[in-house]
């Protein structure tokens, strides 16, 4: 998942005809231009609520702007330091509106969400104050949708026309950029028209093959999690002391649930997925060994991934890494006998029954 920073999203907005205030991207104090009038300095961070933490300041001169930037640079936003700043014209806002295009999984279509109560997290707005309307990708934004939406937001006919164009641009971003979210919050209603004051654009990794110009930047603080992400490994970090490696997302989830149900604390899980490559097992164990676990539980139901392949990977990894954690292995399915034999030959005990294996894991974690 690629999250665009505010300024990256706003550059996209400009390209798609969505009006934004004039702004400069500031990477260093010397980038700040001389200016007259009121402007706003905004920290560019991949996390919400920056305003409340002092990441947004009104400034009236170049000096004030530089001072603000220096001060904001000291703030940590959920662990992130600002990479850059937006310096933009301050706008007299009459109302803050909300509008976004995202996927509605229930109707399996893109949906427009809008509200006259913008500027806050849309999840905190009561349902009845949110306008929802599906868009069929084969038809796109219709005139009647624009009319309904403008009427819901109580806009004058002139602003209704502007909103229509904004909605078309936002839907085009969603569609052409394969976005999972294209959001303007707030969309400022001002005397001189509508203006996008902030942007939130998210693109799924799956679609990046169509967007070679986008360099994925992942805002992940945990180094192990980031390494896994960068290598395209399916690793999920949790809190706890029991590491889990399984093949398949569903089996992984079921495994952590079983551990938790029996009183254990899952630390993370690593999904071997559906390829039969022993190196992947070694990679998984290497990553696991970077995290302090008490117990590592390898739970395999062999299909595409064969039990013997996993066994070989485990044996190889243990030789290389000599990890400190205790290991519980459970193998079932394709080539389970061969897998168990390989493990046994290398002094690793394995179990067949999932419930029993989980009990063993809990026992070892409690030692």
């Amino acid at each position: 998942m690629v999250d665009f920073l505010e300024y990256e999203g706003k550059e996209l907005f400009k390209r798609y005809g969505i009006p934004v205030p004039n702004f400069h991207v500031i990477r260093a104090p010397e980038d700040v231009p001389e200016f007259n009038g009121r402007m706003v300095v905004k920290a560019q961070v991949p996390t919400g609520g920056r305003g409340k933490r002092g990441g947004v300041r009104i400034v009236n001169s170049r000096d004030e702007a530089i001072k603000a930037i220096q001060e904001i640079s000291q703030i940590s936003f959920d662990g992130f330091k600002p990479e850059a700043f937006v310096l933009e014209d301050a706008v007299n806002v009459k109302r803050e509106l909300y509008i976004s295009v995202t996927l509605d999984r229930s109707v399996e279509l893109p949906i427009v969400l809008a509200s006259a109560e913008g500027g806050v997290d849309i999840n905190s707005v009561p349902q009845e104050k949110i306008y929802r309307h599906a868009i069929n990708p084969f038809v796109g934004v219709t005139q009647y949708l624009k009319r309904e939406l403008s009427s819901f937001l109580g806009l004058s006919s002139e602003k209704a026309e502007q909103l229509g164009k904004i909605l078309e641009g936002l839907y085009k971003i969603y569609d052409e950029m394969d976005a999972s979210l294209a959001e303007i919050n707030p969309l400022a209603d001002t005397d001189s028209g509508l203006l996008a004051l902030d942007s939130k654009i998210t693109i799924e990794d799956d679609a990046l093959f169509r967007h070679k110009d986008i360099t994925p930047k992942y805002y992940i603080l945990d180094p192990v999690e980031r390494e896994a992400k960068e290598k395209g490994l399916a690793f999920v970090k949790l809190e706890g002391d029991i590491g889990i490696i399984a093949n398949g997302a569903g089996l992984n989830m079921a495994t952590i649930d079983l551990i938790a149900l029996n009183g254990g604390k899952p630390a993370d899980f690593f999904d071997l997925g559906g390829t039969d490559d022993p190196q992947k097992v070694v990679d998984a164990l290497r990553l696991a060994s970077k995290v302090t676990h008490k117990v590592l539980f390898v739970n395999i139901f062999g299909g595409v991934t064969k039990c013997d392949t996993v066994a070989r990977g485990i044996v190889q990894a243990f030789k290389e890494l000599k990890p400190s954690f205790k290991l519980v292995v459970r193998v079932r399915g394709a080539n389970e006998d061969e897998g168990r034999r390989i493990l046994e030959e290398n002094g690793i005990r394995s179990l067949l029954n999932l419930d029993e294996a989980v009990k063993e894991v809990i026992r070892l974690a409690g030692e």
Binding site: V236, M253, D271
Partner: protein, 290 residues
């Protein structure tokens, strides 16, 4: 009978020359599936494990009378391959490929509706009608002919659960893995509805997980019209919000898609919710009074 895969229709494998395609073409044949050909553009005229390869789906249909396909082509080409399959007149297209952009799936699903085709998947293990045929990648060894219909958003967890059902002395009619993505060709509600209408199916197992509202909608459907006993299992009960749990669709966002909400929805619909895979056969036997 069974659902969807009710007869052993002549079937092609799209992307048969790839590692996965060729391996599973053979596995499907071993299961007894009527695999009549494969498609890889530019490789027409060759054979893979005794299966003739064609350059296009329409060429394969002309030569083999195929009516269904199983798709293994990589994600960037999957949209086009599925459109080709649908345009060429195939009725059933099972997409194993993972990482297809959901934007593509939204469009494919609408397109399949126009053409009257059915898509299963993507990012799924496929469908197996025990005693009839297998389209996809489920292990051949886990099934036993019986009366339990299984629908699941998962892959290996499905195998685990089906294996448990089989080992408990029960058996399956059709097992369908609908896939772990946000938008899937055939969804949980449709599968449950078809199991309800299938004469041979006596009980239904629903394997759900966090994310989305498919389970809640299925619970509504069960309340409204399902008379057969249903046992559910929800994966991800201990998953924290905002984390994508491996499957593209397995994520709790904006407070929606929690395991709790799904478990409650099922319970209020009279569905027995298992807390572990091994509990499923016990609940099934209770409900089937075995």
């Amino acid at each position: 009978m069974a659902i969807i895969l009710k007869e052993n229709v002549p079937t092609i494998v799209q992307g048969i020359t790839g590692h996965q395609g060729s391996f599973h073409a053979e596995q499907m044949k071993i299961f007894g599936t009527n695999i009549v050909g494969g498609v890889t553009p530019g490789k027409g005229g060759t054979t893979v494990k005794g299966v003739p390869v064609f350059n296009s789906v329409s060429e394969a249909i002309r030569n083999t009378g195929a009516r269904a396909s199983v798709v293994f082509v990589p994600a960037p080409f999957a949209f086009d391959s599925v459109v080709e399959a649908i345009d060429s007149g195939l009725e059933l297209v099972t997409v194993i490929t993972e990482h297809i952009p959901f934007h593509d799936m939204v469009k494919l699903k609408l397109y399949a509706k126009i053409r009257g085709a059915r898509i299963i998947g993507p990012n799924c293990p496929g469908i197996t009608s025990v005693g009839i045929a297998k389209h996809g990648i489920m292990p051949n060894s886990i099934f036993r002919e019986g009366s339990v219909g299984v629908v699941s958003r998962s892959g290996t967890l499905t195998y685990e659960i089906v294996n448990t059902i089989t080992e408990a002395g029960l058996g399956e009619t059709t097992v369908i893995g609908i896939g772990g993505d946000q938008v899937v060709g055939t969804n949980m509600q449709e599968a449950v509805s078809m199991f309800e209408d299938d004469e041979r199916t006596k009980a239904i197992v629903v394997v759900g997980e966090i994310g989305g509202t498919a389970e809640e909608e299925t619970a509504e459907l069960i309340k409204r019209k399902v008379t057969k006993p249903v046992v559910a299992f929800i994966a991800g009960r201990s998953a924290p919000p905002g984390k994508r749990m491996g499957h593209a669709g397995a994520i709790i966002t904006g407070g929606k898609g929690t395991a709790q909400s799904k478990v409650e929805a099922f319970k209020s619909a009279g569905v027995a919710v298992a807390s572990s895979p091994s509990e499923i056969p016990k609940l099934l036997k209770e409900r089937l009074k075995l």
